[in-house]
């Protein structure tokens, strides 16, 4: 277990250091996320009340679009100069590798979620009515998205399909996460009268299942 944690932190720290140096998140993904929020607002041409009621769904659609970019980047880092071969020869546990890469994607998603939360408060005049539910939903849905994204990113790379196919593979899998996270945010932002905590439980289940499946399946995808 100690070895898995050491490898996990090694891979996550490496990916985050690369992201920090390349500034892809700060210079490309974050502006893209804010642009999506602005474009949604312009396209809907709605009053503040309508935007507030749509804000949870728009927030999570923006997160998923940014997650696609983060996952593609995470895969490309290993494929660019065949570093993935070195990882296969390193003896590192594939589960630790999966968890490390998913953790790095999760950290990036959490940064984007904070930014997007600020975005919907400023642009859509949303107000946070349940901070705990908002934070836990962001974290739990982030885990589910990062786990599924890391798994399907490796799957797409292993199949040799073009990276443009990743959204087609990944987004259907993430549909339940999108629904659950939107409903929980509806409650946390006071946009609709639903039981957000019940949806959070569903999200937690999805996060656990996707993480376990990813950790187990990654060996097949990366090693063989």
């Amino acid at each position: 277990m100690r070895e898995v944690l050491a490898d996990l932190s090694l891979v996550a720290a490496k990916d985050l250091r690369i992201e920090f140096r390349s500034r892809v998140l700060a210079n490309q993904v974050a502006p893209f996320a804010l642009l999506v929020l602005v474009l949604f607002g312009v396209a809907l041409d709605a009053d503040q009340r309508t935007l507030r009621s749509f804000a949870p769904g728009l927030f999570w659609v923006a997160v998923l679009l940014c997650a696609l970019l983060a996952v593609q980047r995470s895969v490309a880092v290993e494929r660019a100069d065949d570093a993935v071969v070195g990882l296969r020869l390193s003896g590192m546990s594939p589960s630790a590798l999966f968890l490390g890469k998913a953790t790095a994607v999760l950290v990036q998603l959490l940064v984007l979620e904070v930014l997007l939360t600020g975005g919907i408060i400023v642009l859509y005049r949303s107000s946070v009515e349940d901070v705990a539910l908002l934070v836990l939903t962001g974290l739990t849905a982030g885990v589910a998205v990062a786990a599924a994204g890391t798994l399907y990113g490796a799957m797409a790379a292993g199949l040799g399909v073009r990276e443009t196919l990743l959204p087609i593979l990944l987004l259907p899998v993430l549909a339940p996460v999108l629904i659950g996270a939107t409903r929980a945010f509806d409650d946390a932002l006071g946009a609709a009268a639903v039981d957000g905590w019940a949806w959070l439980v569903l999200l937690a289940g999805l996060a656990v299942v996707l993480t376990l499946v990813g950790a187990l399946a990654y060996r097949v995808l990366v090693e063989d």
Partner: protein, 223 residues
């Protein structure tokens, strides 16, 4: 003891047999040069010995492990220098070598071992703190070799290790191979630079069409 034992090995990549009934034995501590025309199976042989290509038919054992069922055990004990350098562009030279040392499970010894490898390959000093994307192709190749050397593998698999290196770099690679063999490692080198590699290796095997068509000891077969 044989480190590599291949008998009638066939390896099909896509639709085509990259290795077509290859027989090869390499003894522990031996240095072997693999030569042959492009597409002859040299790189596939190295990847097979690294446990990255699974034999379709035949018997294949490396370091005593069966390559079909125990290739994961093989991978931890070999070092492969391929055509790609396997480095991260946005990390520095030193960070790359330290990462691969830690990934190999060296733990606290990783940094000291990485510093040794960086010095050995002439990558210490200011160069160590440069991002890999900013260094020359030769320095990149040296960094890749340092990342391999830091693991001190039992079997070194080197695909064109002198490519892109200047004279000093080539000499360093030769010295490194000599030191690895002196320490008990086995080395298989694929190279087109016969004159240089022959100085390292008393044994030269030739691959063509995925089969062994000759070796320096006089065993010559039909292609």
């Amino acid at each position: 003891m044989s480190v590599v034992e291949l008998r009638g090995v066939v390896a099909v990549l896509g639709r085509f047999p990259a290795l077509a009934g290859l027989d090869l034995t390499v003894a522990a501590g031996e240095t072997v040069l693999v030569q042959g025309p492009n597409g002859g199976g040299k790189s596939t042989l190295l990847r097979l010995c690294a446990g990255l290509v699974v034999p379709t038919r035949g018997e294949a054992r490396v370091l005593g492990f069966d390559l079909v069922v125990e290739r994961h055990a093989v991978r931890r004990r070999v070092g492969l220098l391929g055509h790609a350098t396997g480095l991260y562009d946005d990390l520095t030279v030193a960070e790359n070598v330290i990462f691969w040392a830690r990934a190999a499970g060296l733990g606290r010894a990783a940094e000291a071992r990485a510093n040794w490898a960086l010095g050995r390959l002439g990558l210490d000093g200011p160069l160590a703190d440069q991002a890999v994307r900013t260094v020359s192709a030769g320095q990149r190749r040296r960094t890749s070799l340092a990342a391999l050397a830091v693991r001190r593998p039992d079997l070194w698999l080197l695909d064109e290790p002198h490519a892109g290196l200047d004279q000093e770099g080539r000499d360093v690679v030769d010295d490194l191979i000599g030191e690895a063999v002196a320490a008990g490692a086995t080395v298989i080198v694929s190279s087109h630079e016969l004159d240089r590699v022959r100085r390292l290796s008393p044994r030269v095997v030739t691959l063509a069409g995925g089969t062994l068509v000759g070796d320096r000891l006089g065993v010559v077969r039909d292609a």
